[in-house]
Amino acid sequence: MRSISAEVLQIAKGSAVIELDKVSYGYGGSMLFSQLSLELAKGSFHFLTGASGAGKTTLLKLCYADLRAKTGQVRLFGKDAANLGRDEVAVARRRIGVVHQDCQFLDHLSIAENIVLPLTVAGRHDEVGKNLPELLKWVGLTKQADQRPPELSGGERQRAALARAVILSPDVILADEPTGNVDWEMSERLMKLLVELNKMGKSVLIATHDLGMIRTMKSQVSARVSRLKDGQLIQAGADL
């Protein structure tokens, strides 16, 4: 294992869609990580692992400008996130599909309405009818389309969250513990969906502590694995 926290971690060749350049972040007085750099290239597949509390979710939040770096620079599609206004951040997020561990749905809307929410807020109402049936079929939720999120199982919710994340055909998929609440079979199914998206040219960054899943997926996709440990980003190797 070698520390590369102070240098750029190039995930794959090609132009970067998200870059973290010597970024520091912390809560209260203590720093969670500092001088951390990461470059997520177009079409790359990346796993981010680490113990609970290591900062995986925080790092992902920096990647979609939900948090602002204390020091250093976060670049979204070549633009400094610190200089983006709230509307510009909103537009940038339409190019970033995010899947949370707890999914974060609007519980008063149906699953179908939740999945098309990115199209709705982008004002692309005419694409709803075109994309939704296909997407529901892809994630296997056609029958559950009219149900409310609380009525779905953990796996179904994760698949719905994935469908919502990709409905705008974003350039990047960021997934935070997408298999955290599902069984092995469902984990594998979700991962296959993410691999399919990567093959379609999407950059994928998955934060997970499920090393078994990472080992399995490495046989199916060319992925880099980084580990957050003691505030440093380390490229994982054979010890994985």
Binding site: D87, V91, Q104, L106, L117, P118, T120, V121, R164
Partner: protein
């Protein structure tokens, strides 16, 4: 302007993105209705006060009274002289001596109907009506004091001015009350919108996660509260109208206690108040929404 157009046109999907909030919705409607009702009543009182005050002021400005004393000799001779002076005064259009019955009627409220004036020395009252640009009151007084000694000319100026001042004060106070009502409405809607934004923090987080701009999120709240305020204020204005219609109407007596209501174009206030409530709610919610969204960043 775009915000107003978006508000009117609406976006059903955006409206649905924010879950319905029962209590704040009902409170906003109730407060708007109550405030609109109070505004209608207050404005009606203000308008009525203005009308009555104007009528009184006009009447008093155009009329005057000449009192000839009973203890200065021949009252009839004094009366003839006084009438002649009045007829010769430019700006005086009419002068008439009150009959004994009319004078008795004036005293009746104080002494009752059984008083017999014939047995008492009584001054002669002459009513004077002015017209056009008015008359020279000081000049007339000087001439009357020379030709009709003891005659008292009263142009009502002594109590017309305080009356007009009092009416102006009442109008001012009522407009202050209306401004207070509008401000209170704005404060209540702001509080309700704030509460709703805080209660829907998770909804806002999700909407932002999927790329919603602040304007999109704010619009859902602004539209909701503006329409509630508009609906509530309309109900309040209609209730106000019903109350005004139920008030005893007697415009002829120029009493503020009778005929409280609007006249002519003043009735348009019943349309203006709900619209104004909607505009106030729109501005208050929009300010609150963008402020809170900025705070949540």
């Amino acid at each position: 302007m775009n915000s107003v157009i978006a508000l009117i046109v609406g976006d059903a999907q955006a409206d649905r993105a924010v879950p319905p909030t029962g209590l704040t919705a009902r409170l906003t409607v109730f407060v708007s209705a109550a405030m609109a009702l109070l505004a209608v009543i207050a404005l009606a009182i203000s308008m009525t006060t203005a009308r009555v005050a104007d009528a009184w002021a006009d009447e008093l400005a155009q009329s005057a009274t000449l009192r000839l004393p009973a203890d200065r000799g021949d009252v009839d001779a004094m009366l003839q002289t006084a009438l002649r002076v009045l007829e010769q005064t430019p700006g005086i259009t009419a002068a008439r001596a009150l009959s004994s019955d009319e004078q008795q009627a004036l005293l009746e409220p104080w002494f009752g109907p059984d008083l017999t004036l014939e047995n008492l020395p009584q001054p002669q009252i002459v009513t004077v009506v002015a017209g056009g640009a008015g008359y020279d009151a000081d000049g007339l007084r000087a001439r009357l004091s020379a030709e009709v000694p003891g005659a008292v000319f009263d142009d009502h100026g002594a109590w017309r001015e305080p009356l007009l001042k009092a009416a102006d004060r009442i109008r001012l106070i009522i407009w202050g009350v209306v401004i207070l009502i509008v401000t209170t409405l704005a404060a209540m809607v702001t509080l309700a919108a704030h509460a709703s934004l805080v209660a829907n923090e998770q909804v806002i987080r999700v909407l932002r996660l999927v790329g919603a701009r602040d304007a999109y999120i704010a619009r859902a709240f602004v539209r909701r509260y503006t329409l509630r305020a508009l609906a509530g204020a309309t109900v309040g204005a209609v209730l106000g109208l019903l109350i005004l219609l139920a008030m005893p109407q007697d415009q002829g007596r120029d009493s503020i206690l009778l005929g409280v209501g609007f006249a002519g174009f003043e009735w348009l206030w019943l349309l203006v108040i709900p619209l104004l409530s909607g505009i106030v709610a729109f501005a208050a919610t929009r300010t609150a929404a963008f402020g809170k969204l900025k705070e949540m960043t």
